[in-house]
Symmetry: C2
Subunit: 225 residues, 2 copies
Amino acid sequence: MTAQTGAERLDAVSGAVAQVVEELRAMLFARDLTPGSPVRQEALAARLGVSRAPVREALRVLASEGVLDHVRNVGYRVKVLTAAEFEQTYLMRRVLEAEVLRRLPPFPTPALQRLSAVNEQIAEASARGDLTAMARLNSDFHFRMFTASGLDLVVAELRRVWQLSDGYRAYLLHDPISQKRIVDEHAEMVEALRVRDHERLVSLMDHHRDGTRPQLEAVFTPPPA
Amino acid sequence: MTAQTGAERLDAVSGAVAQVVEELRAMLFARDLTPGSPVRQEALAARLGVSRAPVREALRVLASEGVLDHVRNVGYRVKVLTAAEFEQTYLMRRVLEAEVLRRLPPFPTPALQRLSAVNEQIAEASARGDLTAMARLNSDFHFRMFTASGLDLVVAELRRVWQLSDGYRAYLLHDPISQKRIVDEHAEMVEALRVRDHERLVSLMDHHRDGTRPQLEAVFTPPPA
DNA sequence: CCGAGCGAGATTGGATGCAATCTGACTCAC
DNA sequence: GTGAGTCAGATTGCATCCAATCTCGCTCGG
């Protein structure tokens, strides 16, 4: 049951703070907020129909995660990553994901099928040109694997690391050729999971991750003023 | 209750939220809060002379870091780590610290001396039996090295991981024999730094980290509920 | 004696109000 | 023309206020 593009009405979330956090993450995926964008408390509060109090808590959380920058008496804005910082997210992902993947228990067939289904959805989103859905589904694909490790704290850290670059993720998927490559490599990973070849899975993932680097450099090279 | 005499210009920390966060971290180091302790908003606010608003933001931050647990309409409490979770903090530290240490640039002599000085202070705190100071200085020693790597995002993640076990750190230092071992091993690390033997530094650190495991098991074994 | 039901007090979640601070445009002296 | 000074509007930081919810001891029927 995957409701495509239904992210605006998540009243299912218990608290207002969680709602605001989710909305902000969605806005990042959708490039509604891009690196450098200011985040106004009053505007966000109005948009979600809550007061500034929960908004402030949510912003503080995102800032502590490093997703937002905060300057006292000035406000929050989406953090702009330097190339060096982006490199560090790759470094952390490489070492933490390897540990997680090596510890994955055998995947039951239904779980493998669900994973493949997510990858299919990525292909469909790609066909529609829906970058936002792709970004979300791509995270979903990866974290379904990670979560299966049972290493909840490590997965939580990985989530934080991924979120640091959420604002950039759509740019990495921009190119149709990359999109196909991503889907194909995901399929290879599912196969490695099926035959329980963990080392192959790790090296596939390393290759997969490195494959997004060229797109990244394109993001960081054009600094006109 | 309103102290609007305007005398509060001495705030060392810029904001009330940061002040609350720091106080909470200090309370954890000092075992003023121990795993499982509830954290009452009103009490904390009164203790620091601020209102509940900044306290709530601070608590939300600590909860998002995993230091506190939060249950809606019930409150915050210091997170109790399971043995499995503790194991994960070791795992993350092992892989992230190795990456950081391998990238350390040469330490100038004054920096090495400062590092040694911190280790001396640990020894002095040990002699005084001041566990709180030991815990703080021990963090200081390690993060002085890490920070020198320049990998600020990785160091930030390491800080988060360390903070997860801050509430337990004093227990790990409880035993006088461990205290001496820690100081000695720190000295060995300084020496490895001096001669720029990174691989030796990494393996010393691995050994150092593993050395605290026995104390840990002692913490987790006696659950006579 | 014991468990379900109940209510007062404690506590949190969120809204609102206001002072402090920043920003950006405007003025004016040089 | 240019740069320092300043002033209004925008925005944040924090305090305060109220409603919603939970906790826990008490009562009461079985």
